[in-house]
Symmetry: C2
Subunit: 346 residues, 2 copies
């Protein structure tokens, strides 16, 4: 499908635009550069073997833009082999990533330049099949890279908010098999984030509690939607899950900023996350899912009413006409049932 | 995939629940009954031949629930052959459709019964392949059935809002090939609808104009995103299109209520809609899309700031991690380019 989209784009525009429907307060990145990206899944079959031309494989570093950050062995050079995790610019970016923040500005009513950063976090030098999951130790390294990159973005003038996410499998929007996450940083805090912060702040001012701290306590108490819990991390299928087997992981102690999560929290998160992903793959072989990190804006102070979380969103069903019209979701698996299925076996 | 979801549902719950995340004001229908629906597309291949067990085919009326409305030849009986359009209950409903509105009520904090109506509008007695499009005359009949059913729902106590939509093709969430639309009626006006009405009302009170009437005039004037226009209907790719080739059809004269659109508007809509769908199929063979009708709540008075519209939402790309986190969309085809491609050839 992406080839087809490309062929229609006879004169691709170089720049992304950020457009808004002012009545609906709905925002869109018009990103012609993404039309030309290749797609491992385009043929509809799952290619699991090593790919000599995969730009994410070790030895193919010359196929990517310059690395922005890497975990690599001593005495190895940037943009060559010897790394375990590598952060590179996305070659088909959703945002225009020229250096100059001055590029960001209104070009007409309800249109600004779609400026920002769009990077790929290559999780491993190996072309692993989708069904594999990294070890807790390797996930720990990946989570640390997320933190480091979020802190780096604080120092780039103009960036206000960053999303770290993973599209796993074709139904989740992935176009490459080689395991990778992405990070998109924007010069504006999206309204969905601002609304959640505002609602949480209101709750906190009215009750003296963070609403998600209350939720964590209630889910542990109730236990019917609980998947797993440690001293630092809790995982549950939320009461109003949008997707079958949707699972949220939150720190038990209040924190709005993932980038400042201490080692003991990363340790617990990196041990619990792969266990849930392995269980999900056992239950639904070949499952596609999105991982989405919800954390505070880059320059926000500590927020007493906002609590960071990592969401696992399995993609077994899609949005359809009803969902686009109503903004509501239809989920055919009750979260209580989902939690029962995902809970670790004895 | 749906078979797999079914097998996990060892003890399906009979009732749908409507659940809310109160912090995000996000609503979900937990609908276990939908887990057991069959799927023509499950094998991944497109089955285009006639299906002896298709419940939507003429002659198979005994496979469906009782018809709620039909266009049928004189001297034929309900629930038998002889019809051209037939409205039946959805066998795998998103909402619990027991007769009693008293079923709708709070069952716990942030949970109510998911009561309402979920029906299928079978567009034709024939098992037509997805690539076919009805004639303008037949679309006219289908649009009249939409109107009639919306008016019928006004007389069912407790129903407040109805969505008419079409899921065309597997990427748009369709599970049956036989051409059909759906209608879901709810005892609550979803917040997305209420928000749009409120924003339009504010605009109208501030400016004395309907914002979409202003938009229609501006798009006709500008013409860069215009697909087609008649004396009654205008079609354009909106400035902040969420999807490649997204197209909106609106009446040129202000109206908030599709159910009361006069014959000349239906005539123009039913001539323009199939022409765009045919062009879309030419440009992207096998394209999946959603049609979504946005109209006023069932019991709303004439709304000066709300303007009904029919949206065509081609589904070439999906929601992925960034979209779930930000609430923003990424669209790789600029609407100006999309309109150029969709515009009728000379």
């Amino acid at each position: 499908m992406s080839g087809l989209l490309t062929s229609l784009e006879s004169a691709p525009q170089p720049m992304s635009e950020l457009r808004c429907d002012p009545l609906l307060n709905r925002w869109v990145l018009i990103a012609p550069a993404r039309g030309s990206r290749p797609n491992d899944f385009a043929a509809g079959s799952r290619v699991e073997q090593s790919a000599p031309l995969c730009p994410f494989c070790e030895g193919n570093e010359h196929l990517t833009g310059p690395e922005q950050l890497a975990r690599r062995a001593e005495q190895t050079s940037p943009n060559g082999p010897g790394w375990t995790i590598r952060v590179i610019p996305n070659r088909y970016p959703a945002v225009t990533s020229e250096d100059e923040f001055s590029l960001f500005g209104e070009t007409s009513a309800n249109t600004t330049t779609g400026w920002g950063r769009h990077e790929v976090i290559v999780e491993t030098p190996r072309h692993l099949p989708l069904s594999t999951t990294h070890s807790p130790d390797h996930w720990n390294e990946i989570l640390q890279v997320f933190q480091e990159r979020l802190r780096d973005f604080r120092r780039i003038p103009g960036l206000q908010h960053a999303f770290v996410f993973k599209n796993h499998g074709p139904a989740a929007g992935a176009s490459f098999i080689h395991p990778h996450c992405q990070i998109i940083a924007l010069p504006r805090v999206p309204n969905a984030v601002a609304d959640e912060i505002q609602a949480g702040d209101l709750w906190w001012r009215q009750t003296g509690h963070c609403p998600r701290c209350e939720l964590v306590a209630a889910e542990i108490q109730d236990a019917s939607r609980l998947v797993t819990a440690s001293s630092e991390i809790v995982a549950f299928c939320p009461h109003a899950s949008r997707f079958p087997y949707e699972t949220w992981l939150l720190p038990r102690r209040h924190s709005s900023d993932f980038a400042s999560a201490p080692p003991e929290v990363l340790n617990d998160l990196s041990s619990r996350l792969p266990a849930i992903l392995v269980r999900l793959e056992q239950v639904i072989p070949g499952v596609s899912y999105n991982l989405v990190l919800h954390t505070a804006p880059l320059h926000a102070p500590a927020l007493p009413g906002f609590h960071w979380r990592l969401e696992i969103l399995p993609r077994l069903t899609g949005m359809a006409g009803f969902e686009w019209g109503s903004g509501w979701f239809i989920n055919q698996v009750a979260p209580e049932r989902a939690a029962q299925v995902l809970r670790p076996r004895d």
